[in-house]
Protein backbone atom coordinates (compact mmCIF):
# COMPACT_ATOMS: atom_id res chain seq x y z
CA UNK A 1 0.00 0.00 0.00
CA UNK A 2 1.08 3.52 -0.67
CA UNK A 3 1.04 5.98 2.20
CA UNK A 4 1.51 9.72 2.28
CA UNK A 5 3.82 10.82 5.06
CA UNK A 6 3.67 14.09 6.97
CA UNK A 7 4.93 15.46 10.27
CA UNK A 8 3.31 16.67 13.43
CA UNK A 9 6.01 18.22 15.56
CA UNK A 10 9.01 15.89 15.19
CA UNK A 11 7.00 12.70 14.68
CA UNK A 12 5.99 11.18 11.40
CA UNK A 13 2.49 10.09 10.49
CA UNK A 14 0.97 8.53 7.40
CA UNK A 15 -2.36 8.60 5.59
CA UNK A 16 -3.57 5.95 3.18
CA UNK A 17 -2.81 7.45 -0.24
CA UNK A 18 -6.09 6.02 -1.54
CA UNK A 19 -7.99 8.54 0.55
CA UNK A 20 -6.08 11.47 -0.89
CA UNK A 21 -7.74 13.41 -3.67
CA UNK A 22 -4.90 15.85 -4.30
CA UNK A 23 -2.00 17.63 -2.64
CA UNK A 24 -2.25 21.40 -2.88
CA UNK A 25 0.18 24.13 -1.93
CA UNK A 26 -0.68 26.46 0.92
CA UNK A 27 -3.10 29.07 -0.29
CA UNK A 28 -5.05 32.01 0.96
CA UNK A 29 -8.12 30.93 2.88
CA UNK A 30 -11.48 32.43 3.62
CA UNK A 31 -11.80 32.60 7.39
CA UNK A 32 -14.82 30.95 8.96
CA UNK A 33 -15.59 33.04 12.04
CA UNK A 34 -16.85 30.99 14.94
CA UNK A 35 -15.58 27.75 13.48
CA UNK A 36 -14.44 25.06 15.93
CA UNK A 37 -10.82 24.85 17.01
CA UNK A 38 -8.57 23.49 14.28
CA UNK A 39 -10.80 24.68 11.45
CA UNK A 40 -8.81 27.53 9.94
CA UNK A 41 -11.09 28.43 7.08
CA UNK A 42 -12.29 27.34 3.70
CA UNK A 43 -10.63 27.25 0.31
CA UNK A 44 -12.11 27.47 -3.12
CA UNK A 45 -11.24 24.29 -5.00
CA UNK A 46 -12.56 24.43 -8.55
CA UNK A 47 -15.49 26.45 -7.38
CA UNK A 48 -16.32 24.16 -4.46
CA UNK A 49 -15.85 25.38 -0.91
CA UNK A 50 -13.65 22.95 1.01
CA UNK A 51 -13.18 23.31 4.78
CA UNK A 52 -9.59 23.44 5.87
CA UNK A 53 -8.22 21.97 9.08
CA UNK A 54 -4.78 22.65 10.50
CA UNK A 55 -3.63 19.32 11.91
CA UNK A 56 -1.03 21.06 14.04
CA UNK A 57 -3.67 23.20 15.72
CA UNK A 58 -5.90 20.20 16.22
CA UNK A 59 -3.21 18.03 17.80
CA UNK A 60 -0.41 20.26 19.10
CA UNK A 61 -2.17 23.56 19.62
CA UNK A 62 0.14 25.61 17.37
CA UNK A 63 -0.31 26.52 13.70
CA UNK A 64 1.71 24.80 11.00
CA UNK A 65 4.87 26.60 9.87
CA UNK A 66 4.36 28.73 6.75
CA UNK A 67 7.00 27.05 4.59
CA UNK A 68 6.93 25.45 1.17
CA UNK A 69 6.90 21.91 2.58
CA UNK A 70 3.71 22.61 4.49
CA UNK A 71 0.93 21.63 2.14
CA UNK A 72 -2.77 20.99 2.00
CA UNK A 73 -3.75 17.34 1.79
CA UNK A 74 -7.17 17.13 0.19
CA UNK A 75 -8.83 13.96 1.50
CA UNK A 76 -12.15 12.35 0.70
CA UNK A 77 -14.04 12.39 3.94
CA UNK A 78 -17.00 10.08 4.56
CA UNK A 79 -19.88 11.97 6.16
CA UNK A 80 -22.53 10.44 8.38
CA UNK A 81 -25.07 10.43 5.55
CA UNK A 82 -22.80 8.29 3.39
CA UNK A 83 -21.75 11.12 1.09
CA UNK A 84 -18.11 11.75 0.38
CA UNK A 85 -16.93 15.26 1.12
CA UNK A 86 -13.62 16.89 0.47
CA UNK A 87 -11.64 18.05 3.47
CA UNK A 88 -8.37 19.98 3.40
CA UNK A 89 -5.73 19.12 5.99
CA UNK A 90 -2.80 21.45 6.50
CA UNK A 91 0.20 19.26 7.33
CA UNK A 92 3.89 19.95 7.69
CA UNK A 93 6.45 18.18 5.52
CA UNK A 94 3.88 16.49 3.34
CA UNK A 95 6.54 15.75 0.75
CA UNK A 96 7.08 12.02 0.84
CA UNK A 97 5.26 8.78 0.10
CA UNK A 98 6.22 5.37 1.40
CA UNK A 99 5.30 1.90 0.27
CA UNK A 100 4.44 -0.39 3.17
CA UNK A 101 2.31 -3.46 3.67
CA UNK A 102 -0.81 -2.86 5.75
CA UNK A 103 0.37 -5.68 8.00
CA UNK A 104 3.53 -3.72 8.89
CA UNK A 105 1.39 -1.57 11.13
CA UNK A 106 0.88 -3.04 14.58
CA UNK A 107 -0.94 -1.79 17.66
CA UNK A 108 1.15 0.78 19.48
CA UNK A 109 0.45 -0.77 22.86
CA UNK A 110 -1.07 2.45 24.17
CA UNK A 111 -4.55 2.33 22.72
CA UNK A 112 -6.56 3.56 25.66
CA UNK A 113 -6.78 7.29 26.19
CA UNK A 114 -5.15 8.39 22.92
CA UNK A 115 -7.23 10.26 20.33
CA UNK A 116 -9.40 8.02 18.18
CA UNK A 117 -7.75 9.18 14.94
CA UNK A 118 -4.38 7.67 15.83
CA UNK A 119 -3.95 4.18 14.46
CA UNK A 120 -1.35 1.43 14.56
CA UNK A 121 2.37 2.09 14.12
CA UNK A 122 5.09 0.80 11.81
CA UNK A 123 8.81 1.06 12.38
CA UNK A 124 11.68 1.93 10.08
CA UNK A 125 15.31 2.97 10.47
CA UNK A 126 14.34 6.44 11.72
CA UNK A 127 11.77 5.38 14.28
CA UNK A 128 8.06 4.82 14.38
CA UNK A 129 5.44 5.97 11.89
CA UNK A 130 1.85 6.19 13.02
CA UNK A 131 -1.19 5.77 10.84
CA UNK A 132 -3.88 8.44 11.00
CA UNK A 133 -7.47 7.37 10.50
CA UNK A 134 -9.00 10.15 8.47
CA UNK A 135 -12.57 9.15 9.13
CA UNK A 136 -12.09 9.65 12.88
CA UNK A 137 -10.13 12.85 12.61
CA UNK A 138 -13.03 15.08 13.53
CA UNK A 139 -15.32 14.67 16.51
CA UNK A 140 -18.86 13.95 15.35
CA UNK A 141 -20.21 17.34 16.42
CA UNK A 142 -17.57 19.30 14.50
CA UNK A 143 -18.03 17.10 11.48
CA UNK A 144 -21.74 17.79 11.41
CA UNK A 145 -21.23 21.54 11.80
CA UNK A 146 -18.65 21.62 9.01
CA UNK A 147 -20.49 19.79 6.34
CA UNK A 148 -23.84 21.27 7.14
CA UNK A 149 -22.15 24.60 6.56
CA UNK A 150 -20.70 23.40 3.28
CA UNK A 151 -24.00 21.99 2.10
CA UNK A 152 -26.10 25.07 2.75
CA UNK A 153 -23.91 27.21 0.49
Amino acid sequence: MLFLMFSLGTDRYVLDAGEVEAILPLMATKALPGAPRGVVGAINYRGRPVPLIDLNVLTLGRPAAAVLSTRIILVRYPAADGDIHLLGLIAERATETIERAASDFVASGVEAGIPAYLGPVASDARGLIQRVRTERLLPADIRDILFRRAETD
Binding site: P25, D54, A64, V67, L68
Partner: protein, 237 residues
Protein backbone atom coordinates in the same frame (compact mmCIF):
# COMPACT_ATOMS: atom_id res chain seq x y z
CA UNK B 1 0.46 31.48 10.61
CA UNK B 2 4.12 32.16 11.10
CA UNK B 3 7.18 29.96 11.30
CA UNK B 4 8.04 28.64 14.72
CA UNK B 5 11.36 29.43 16.34
CA UNK B 6 12.66 25.94 15.76
CA UNK B 7 12.00 26.15 12.04
CA UNK B 8 13.77 29.45 11.66
CA UNK B 9 16.96 28.28 13.31
CA UNK B 10 16.97 25.22 11.12
CA UNK B 11 16.75 27.41 8.03
CA UNK B 12 19.52 29.69 9.18
CA UNK B 13 22.10 26.95 9.05
CA UNK B 14 23.86 26.96 5.68
CA UNK B 15 23.60 23.74 3.70
CA UNK B 16 26.83 21.79 3.89
CA UNK B 17 27.38 20.78 0.27
CA UNK B 18 29.46 17.73 1.17
CA UNK B 19 28.85 16.30 -2.29
CA UNK B 20 31.01 19.10 -3.69
CA UNK B 21 33.81 18.56 -1.15
CA UNK B 22 34.10 14.81 -0.66
CA UNK B 23 31.38 13.42 -2.90
CA UNK B 24 31.06 12.81 -6.62
CA UNK B 25 31.63 16.48 -7.46
CA UNK B 26 34.61 16.65 -5.09
CA UNK B 27 37.50 14.35 -4.36
CA UNK B 28 35.31 11.26 -3.79
CA UNK B 29 36.86 10.59 -0.40
CA UNK B 30 33.51 10.24 1.40
CA UNK B 31 33.29 6.84 3.10
CA UNK B 32 29.57 6.69 2.35
CA UNK B 33 30.27 6.54 -1.39
CA UNK B 34 31.22 2.88 -1.07
CA UNK B 35 27.73 2.10 0.11
CA UNK B 36 25.65 4.52 -1.98
CA UNK B 37 27.81 4.71 -5.17
CA UNK B 38 26.53 8.19 -6.02
CA UNK B 39 25.62 11.15 -3.85
CA UNK B 40 22.11 11.24 -5.25
CA UNK B 41 21.48 7.90 -3.47
CA UNK B 42 22.77 9.16 -0.14
CA UNK B 43 20.40 10.12 2.70
CA UNK B 44 22.54 13.20 3.46
CA UNK B 45 21.91 14.52 -0.03
CA UNK B 46 18.21 13.70 0.26
CA UNK B 47 17.93 15.52 3.59
CA UNK B 48 19.61 18.60 2.10
CA UNK B 49 17.27 18.54 -0.87
CA UNK B 50 14.29 18.26 1.42
CA UNK B 51 15.46 21.31 3.34
CA UNK B 52 14.99 23.39 0.21
CA UNK B 53 11.29 22.81 0.74
CA UNK B 54 11.50 24.22 4.25
CA UNK B 55 11.98 27.74 2.90
CA UNK B 56 9.41 30.35 3.83
CA UNK B 57 6.65 31.10 1.38
CA UNK B 58 7.42 33.76 -1.23
CA UNK B 59 5.30 36.89 -1.24
CA UNK B 60 1.92 36.49 -2.91
CA UNK B 61 2.38 32.70 -2.92
CA UNK B 62 -0.87 31.90 -1.14
CA UNK B 63 -2.90 34.41 -3.11
CA UNK B 64 -1.57 33.14 -6.40
CA UNK B 65 -2.42 29.52 -5.64
CA UNK B 66 -5.81 30.49 -4.26
CA UNK B 67 -6.57 32.19 -7.58
CA UNK B 68 -5.24 29.18 -9.47
CA UNK B 69 -7.42 26.61 -7.72
CA UNK B 70 -10.47 28.86 -7.54
CA UNK B 71 -10.62 28.82 -11.32
CA UNK B 72 -12.10 25.55 -12.59
CA UNK B 73 -10.21 26.02 -15.85
CA UNK B 74 -6.76 26.00 -14.30
CA UNK B 75 -7.32 24.25 -11.02
CA UNK B 76 -7.51 20.70 -12.28
CA UNK B 77 -10.39 18.38 -11.69
CA UNK B 78 -12.08 17.09 -8.62
CA UNK B 79 -14.37 14.15 -8.16
CA UNK B 80 -17.33 16.49 -8.03
CA UNK B 81 -18.73 16.06 -11.50
CA UNK B 82 -18.52 12.59 -12.93
CA UNK B 83 -18.86 13.96 -16.46
CA UNK B 84 -15.49 15.63 -16.25
CA UNK B 85 -13.69 13.49 -13.72
CA UNK B 86 -9.98 13.50 -13.19
CA UNK B 87 -8.16 10.65 -14.85
CA UNK B 88 -4.53 9.72 -14.84
CA UNK B 89 -2.71 7.75 -17.48
CA UNK B 90 0.86 6.55 -17.83
CA UNK B 91 2.31 7.83 -21.08
CA UNK B 92 4.91 5.71 -22.84
CA UNK B 93 6.52 5.54 -26.24
CA UNK B 94 6.51 2.55 -28.51
CA UNK B 95 8.49 3.25 -31.63
CA UNK B 96 7.25 6.58 -32.91
CA UNK B 97 3.92 6.41 -31.16
CA UNK B 98 3.09 7.85 -27.79
CA UNK B 99 0.53 5.67 -26.09
CA UNK B 100 -1.21 5.72 -22.74
CA UNK B 101 -2.86 3.26 -20.39
CA UNK B 102 -4.76 3.99 -17.17
CA UNK B 103 -2.45 4.34 -14.19
CA UNK B 104 -4.44 1.94 -12.03
CA UNK B 105 -3.49 -1.14 -14.03
CA UNK B 106 0.25 -0.52 -13.77
CA UNK B 107 2.00 -2.78 -11.32
CA UNK B 108 5.61 -2.05 -11.98
CA UNK B 109 7.99 -0.26 -14.31
CA UNK B 110 11.45 -1.77 -14.20
CA UNK B 111 14.72 -1.98 -16.05
CA UNK B 112 14.68 -4.27 -19.08
CA UNK B 113 15.93 -7.78 -18.34
CA UNK B 114 16.53 -10.96 -20.30
CA UNK B 115 13.43 -12.46 -21.85
CA UNK B 116 13.52 -16.25 -21.81
CA UNK B 117 11.74 -17.62 -24.83
CA UNK B 118 9.11 -20.29 -24.46
CA UNK B 119 9.55 -23.43 -26.56
CA UNK B 120 6.94 -24.35 -29.17
CA UNK B 121 5.47 -20.89 -29.31
CA UNK B 122 4.77 -19.56 -32.76
CA UNK B 123 2.77 -16.53 -31.77
CA UNK B 124 4.75 -13.42 -32.62
CA UNK B 125 3.04 -11.49 -29.85
CA UNK B 126 4.45 -13.64 -27.04
CA UNK B 127 8.15 -13.08 -26.55
CA UNK B 128 8.76 -15.26 -23.51
CA UNK B 129 8.89 -14.97 -19.76
CA UNK B 130 10.69 -12.46 -17.57
CA UNK B 131 11.69 -12.64 -13.96
CA UNK B 132 10.27 -9.75 -11.96
CA UNK B 133 11.43 -10.06 -8.37
CA UNK B 134 11.22 -13.82 -8.45
CA UNK B 135 7.90 -13.97 -10.22
CA UNK B 136 7.71 -15.26 -13.77
CA UNK B 137 5.53 -13.09 -15.97
CA UNK B 138 4.75 -13.61 -19.62
CA UNK B 139 6.26 -10.86 -21.72
CA UNK B 140 4.44 -9.82 -24.85
CA UNK B 141 5.32 -7.59 -27.75
CA UNK B 142 2.88 -4.74 -27.42
CA UNK B 143 3.59 -3.67 -30.99
CA UNK B 144 2.66 -7.10 -32.33
CA UNK B 145 -0.33 -7.33 -30.03
CA UNK B 146 -1.93 -4.10 -31.14
CA UNK B 147 -0.45 -4.27 -34.60
CA UNK B 148 1.72 -1.20 -34.96
CA UNK B 149 4.79 -1.08 -37.10
CA UNK B 150 8.05 -1.33 -35.22
CA UNK B 151 10.31 -0.74 -38.23
CA UNK B 152 10.75 2.99 -37.78
CA UNK B 153 10.85 2.34 -34.12
CA UNK B 154 14.04 0.35 -34.09
CA UNK B 155 16.06 3.12 -35.71
CA UNK B 156 15.00 5.60 -33.12
CA UNK B 157 15.17 3.29 -30.16
CA UNK B 158 18.74 2.41 -31.06
CA UNK B 159 19.56 6.01 -30.24
CA UNK B 160 17.74 6.03 -26.97
CA UNK B 161 18.12 2.50 -25.71
CA UNK B 162 18.78 3.80 -22.24
CA UNK B 163 15.15 4.72 -21.84
CA UNK B 164 13.77 1.26 -22.52
CA UNK B 165 11.65 -0.07 -19.69
CA UNK B 166 9.91 -3.26 -18.79
CA UNK B 167 6.31 -2.53 -17.88
CA UNK B 168 4.13 -4.91 -15.88
CA UNK B 169 0.40 -4.32 -16.05
CA UNK B 170 -2.48 -6.42 -14.93
CA UNK B 171 -5.41 -7.07 -12.71
CA UNK B 172 -6.53 -9.84 -10.40
CA UNK B 173 -7.05 -12.30 -13.21
CA UNK B 174 -3.64 -12.04 -14.76
CA UNK B 175 -0.65 -9.94 -15.52
CA UNK B 176 1.44 -9.21 -18.55
CA UNK B 177 4.75 -7.57 -19.20
CA UNK B 178 5.96 -5.70 -22.23
CA UNK B 179 8.91 -3.60 -23.28
CA UNK B 180 8.44 0.06 -24.15
CA UNK B 181 11.01 2.40 -25.61
CA UNK B 182 10.46 5.14 -23.09
CA UNK B 183 8.14 5.94 -20.21
CA UNK B 184 7.27 9.61 -19.88
CA UNK B 185 5.37 9.39 -16.62
CA UNK B 186 1.90 10.02 -15.32
CA UNK B 187 -0.32 12.52 -17.07
CA UNK B 188 -3.42 13.94 -15.39
CA UNK B 189 -6.18 15.02 -17.64
CA UNK B 190 -9.85 15.68 -17.66
CA UNK B 191 -12.25 13.45 -19.48
CA UNK B 192 -13.32 16.40 -21.59
CA UNK B 193 -9.79 16.76 -22.95
CA UNK B 194 -10.06 13.42 -24.74
CA UNK B 195 -10.64 13.60 -28.46
CA UNK B 196 -12.08 10.91 -30.70
CA UNK B 197 -9.51 8.87 -32.53
CA UNK B 198 -8.86 10.56 -35.88
CA UNK B 199 -9.21 8.36 -38.90
CA UNK B 200 -5.69 9.27 -39.97
CA UNK B 201 -4.08 7.34 -37.15
CA UNK B 202 -4.37 4.30 -39.33
CA UNK B 203 -1.31 2.72 -37.83
CA UNK B 204 -2.98 1.98 -34.51
CA UNK B 205 -6.01 -0.18 -35.04
CA UNK B 206 -9.00 1.55 -33.56
CA UNK B 207 -9.91 -1.65 -31.75
CA UNK B 208 -7.33 -0.74 -29.12
CA UNK B 209 -7.29 3.05 -29.29
CA UNK B 210 -10.26 4.51 -27.54
CA UNK B 211 -9.30 8.16 -27.55
CA UNK B 212 -6.61 10.62 -28.46
CA UNK B 213 -5.21 12.97 -25.88
CA UNK B 214 -3.45 16.17 -26.94
CA UNK B 215 -0.17 16.41 -25.05
CA UNK B 216 2.38 19.16 -25.69
CA UNK B 217 2.59 19.26 -29.47
CA UNK B 218 1.83 15.57 -29.84
CA UNK B 219 -1.13 13.27 -29.64
CA UNK B 220 -1.19 10.38 -27.24
CA UNK B 221 -3.24 7.34 -28.15
CA UNK B 222 -5.18 6.07 -25.15
CA UNK B 223 -5.45 2.30 -25.26
CA UNK B 224 -8.35 0.26 -23.96
CA UNK B 225 -6.86 -1.85 -21.19
CA UNK B 226 -9.67 -4.40 -21.15
CA UNK B 227 -9.30 -5.12 -24.86
CA UNK B 228 -5.53 -5.21 -24.55
CA UNK B 229 -5.57 -7.76 -21.74
CA UNK B 230 -8.18 -9.79 -23.57
CA UNK B 231 -6.03 -9.83 -26.70
CA UNK B 232 -3.10 -10.89 -24.58
CA UNK B 233 -5.09 -13.76 -23.07
CA UNK B 234 -6.12 -14.86 -26.52
CA UNK B 235 -2.55 -15.01 -27.77
CA UNK B 236 -1.56 -17.09 -24.76
CA UNK B 237 -4.21 -19.68 -25.44
Amino acid sequence: MTGTGADETRLDQPIDACWRRIGVSGDRSCPKLAEHLHCRNCPVHEAAARRLLDRPLPAEYREEWARHYANPETGGSGTGDAEDALQTVVVFRLGDEWLALPTAIFEEIAEPRPIRSLPHRRNKAILGIVNVRGELIVCASLAALIGIDEQGATERSARANGFRRLVVIGHDQGRMAFIVDEVHGILRHRRSELRPVPATIGKTPSAFSIAALPWKDQTVGCLDEARLLAAFDRSLA
